[in-house]
Each structure stands twice: as structure tokens, then as C-alpha cells.
């Protein structure tokens, strides 16, 4: 019995080691943080007709003095494209965050900015660049959405 427990623990340790040794991302430009994020009914029925669904954003609240915004960046299921999200300060254009490619039906669960933000309201632009599913080097039509980060 003790041997079986030992073997089970050893197998688990090996599995964990193998998992932790995996490199982040897959070398194809897919953001390593992108994860399946399907919401029943939250899809794009017009995707087959070449339509992209783009959300608009409300204020993003975050804790002042930190660098993390708990807002998911979603590429809606059914969108016929990859998305790359770039968050910039509207004044000056400083890039606060840029994702890798996010496949349809996946999302970045939360974003970590390039720096911390002190308390205040920061007008931002979320740029959504889109790319072909067949050839991710091929850009498609995109969008820019304005909103505010509110750090308090």
C-alpha cells in the first residue's frame, strides 16, 4: 500500500515538473495568457458572413498604486479573426499594455499594465487590431474604443 502511495506521489511530481517546464506561449504569436472564455450565448452569429463583433468599454476601475486591471479582454466566440489588444493613454499615446494574438472564444482574464498608476482618472484608447485566421500576418479591419481607467 505504501509503495502504491509513493508511486502515485512520484507520478504526480513528474507530471507537475513536466507541466511547469512547458514554455509560455507556443511560438505562433498567441498570447500565453489567452484562455478559453466561452459564455453561453455570448457569440457572434454574423461571423460566417465576415462580421466582427467589437465591444465598447465602460470605466475600468483599479486599485491606485497597482498595475493590474481586473477586466477581461475578450475576442467573442464566432469572430472570424484573431485580435490583438493595445491599451494606450489617450493623451500622449503611452502604451500601457499590449497583448499577443487572442483567438475567437478566448480572452485575457485580466491585464497587467507596464507600470503602476497613481490615483486618478486616465482617458485611454483600446486599439483592437484584427488578423486573418488563415494567415495571422494578414491584418484585417480594426477598431479603437475610448474609455477611462479610474484608479482609486
Amino acid at each position: 500500500m505504501a509503495l502504491l502511495v509513493f508511486l502515485a506521489l512520484a507520478a504526480a511530481a513528474v507530471a507537475a515538473a513536466v507541466f511547469l517546464a512547458q514554455p509560455e506561449g507556443d511560438g505562433d504569436g498567441i498570447d500565453p495568457s489567452a484562455t478559453s472564455y466561452s459564455i453561453p450565448g455570448y457569440d457572434n452569429p454574423g461571423g460566417e458572413r465576415g462580421r466582427i463583433r467589437i465591444p465598447t468599454y465602460s470605466d475600468w476601475d483599479m486599485k491606485a498604486g497597482t498595475d493590474t486591471v481586473e477586466v477581461p479582454l475578450i475576442n467573442t466566440e464566432g469572430n472570424p479573426c484573431y485580435m490583438r489588444f493595445t491599451v494606450k493613454l489617450s493623451d500622449g499615446g503611452e502604451v500601457l499594455y499590449q497583448s499577443g494574438l487572442v483567438p475567437p472564444g478566448q480572452a485575457i482574464p485580466s491585464i497587467r499594465l507596464n507600470r503602476t498608476l497613481d490615483a486618478g482618472t486616465y482617458p485611454i484608447t483600446v486599439e483592437i487590431a484584427t488578423f486573418s485566421l488563415d494567415d495571422p500576418s494578414q491584418p484585417l479591419n480594426g477598431a479603437e474604443l475610448g474609455t477611462d481607467i479610474v484608479a482609486s
Binding site: 507541466f19 512547458q22 509560455e24 507556443d26 505562433d28 498567441i30 500565453p32 495568457s33 484562455t35 478559453s36 472564455y37 466561452s38 459564455i39 453561453p40 450565448g41 455570448y42 457572434n44 454574423g46 465576415g50 462580421r51 466582427i52 463583433r53 467589437i54 465591444p55 465598447t56 468599454y57 465602460s58 475600468w60 486591471v69 481586473e70 477586466v71 477581461p72 475578450i74 467573442t76 472570424p80 479573426c81 483567438p103 478566448q106 482574464p109 485580466s110 482617458p123 484608447t125 484584427t130 488563415d134 494567415d135 495571422p136 491584418p139 484585417l140 479591419n141 480594426g142 477598431a143 479603437e144 474604443l145 475610448g146 474609455t147 477611462d148
Partner: protein, 194 residues
């Protein structure tokens, strides 16, 4: 190109996200992993609205592919949409939508010309015509150039601008000619909710 996903990585990330969700309250998503398929479903305990979004958005064309025949037009329509699962445009809550409507703008990277990626650029002019009650600017062509220009003001009743794209010029060189359109919306341009 080979695209692969790492389901194990997703599970680990979602475990962390789940803990954050529980700590932050009921308005944030709750995560559940389907162990059979490795996929993740997201539900909302108090709202079907994704955090950080307004619950509504726009549908835009992925691409506007022109063919050899100039007389064949291509759909370039844009419309307001309800991003809440199962909801239609008229079901967007009043509290979530600016009372004065919302403006959507359009900008062309090449000034409404298709061109090659490298010289000779061989620009080929095209135009997009928009129709509908929401539309305030009907014609987008080389005269608009690269200037970001408002297509119109969209409301829950006037939610669609029917767009028709038409190639005007002819290519003098062989090879791919492209342009990229950017559709933009800025909340600061809307009428504040009283």
C-alpha cells in the same frame, strides 16, 4: 500556420482568476471548468454583462474583398449590437446606453486607396457609400483621405448604416492591393446620462 492551445495552462490561470472573482464580489464572473472537455464556461452571478464593457458594441466588416469586376459591390455595413447573450438591440438597457446616441467614426490607413505593401504602391481608389437614418456622412472616398470621420449617430432605433463599397480605379500592377479600415468609438463624445 499551426495554432495550438494549452488547456492545462488555461486551467491554472483560471484557478487564479476564480480566487480573485470570489474575493471581489458578486458582480465579477464565476469560473467553472468542464473537466470532460477542458473548456471553460463563464457565468455571471448578478449580471450577464462582461466586466469593463457596456454590454453593447458594434459589428463591422472583417474585410472588403474586391474582385476583378468593378461593377460588383461589396457589403461594408456597420451596426449597433447588443453584446448581452440573447439580447437584441432594442433590449439594451436604457441605463447602459447614452441618451443622445453614439457616434461611430471611420478612418482609412491609405485614404480609401488599395495599394501594394512595397513600391510601386500602385494605388487603386475605392469608395464606401452609407445609407440609413443614423448616417451623417454618406460618402467616404479619396476626398476624405486619412481623416477620421464620423459615419453617423447610432441609437437603438437607428442602429444600422448600410454600407456599399465599390472599386473606382484599376490596378496597373499585379499583386495584392490592400487597405485597412479602423472603426472608432469614444465614450467622451457621447451625451452624458443625466
Amino acid at each position: 500556420m499551426r495554432i495550438k492551445t494549452n488547456r492545462n495552462m488555461g486551467r491554472i490561470l483560471l484557478a487564479g482568476a476564480c480566487a480573485a472573482a470570489l474575493a471581489a464580489g458578486s458582480a465579477v464572473p464565476a469560473f467553472a471548468v468542464d473537466e470532460k472537455t477542458g473548456t471553460t464556461n463563464v457565468t455571471y452571478s448578478s449580471s450577464q454583462q462582461v466586466p469593463g464593457t457596456n454590454g453593447w458594441g458594434f459589428e463591422i466588416p472583417t474585410a472588403i474583398p474586391f474582385g476583378h469586376d468593378k461593377s460588383v459591390t461589396v457589403d461594408a455595413s456597420v451596426n449597433l449590437c447588443n453584446m448581452t447573450p440573447g439580447g437584441s438591440v432594442d433590449q439594451i438597457p436604457e441605463a447602459d446606453f447614452p441618451t443622445g446616441g453614439v457616434e461611430l467614426s471611420l478612418q482609412s490607413a491609405n485614404g480609401f486607396q488599395l495599394q501594394k505593401a512595397a513600391a510601386p504602391l500602385d494605388p487603386v481608389a475605392y469608395k464606401i457609400s452609407y445609407e440609413g437614418a443614423a448616417v451623417t456622412k454618406q460618402l467616404f472616398d479619396t476626398n476624405v483621405g486619412q481623416t477620421k470621420t464620423v459615419i453617423g449617430k447610432f441609437t437603438k432605433t437607428d442602429h444600422t448604416a448600410v454600407g456599399t463599397a465599390e472599386r473606382v480605379g484599376d490596378a496597373g500592377e499585379s499583386g495584392s492591393h490592400t487597405d485597412t479600415l479602423t472603426f472608432s468609438y469614444d465614450a467622451s463624445n457621447t451625451t452624458p446620462i443625466p
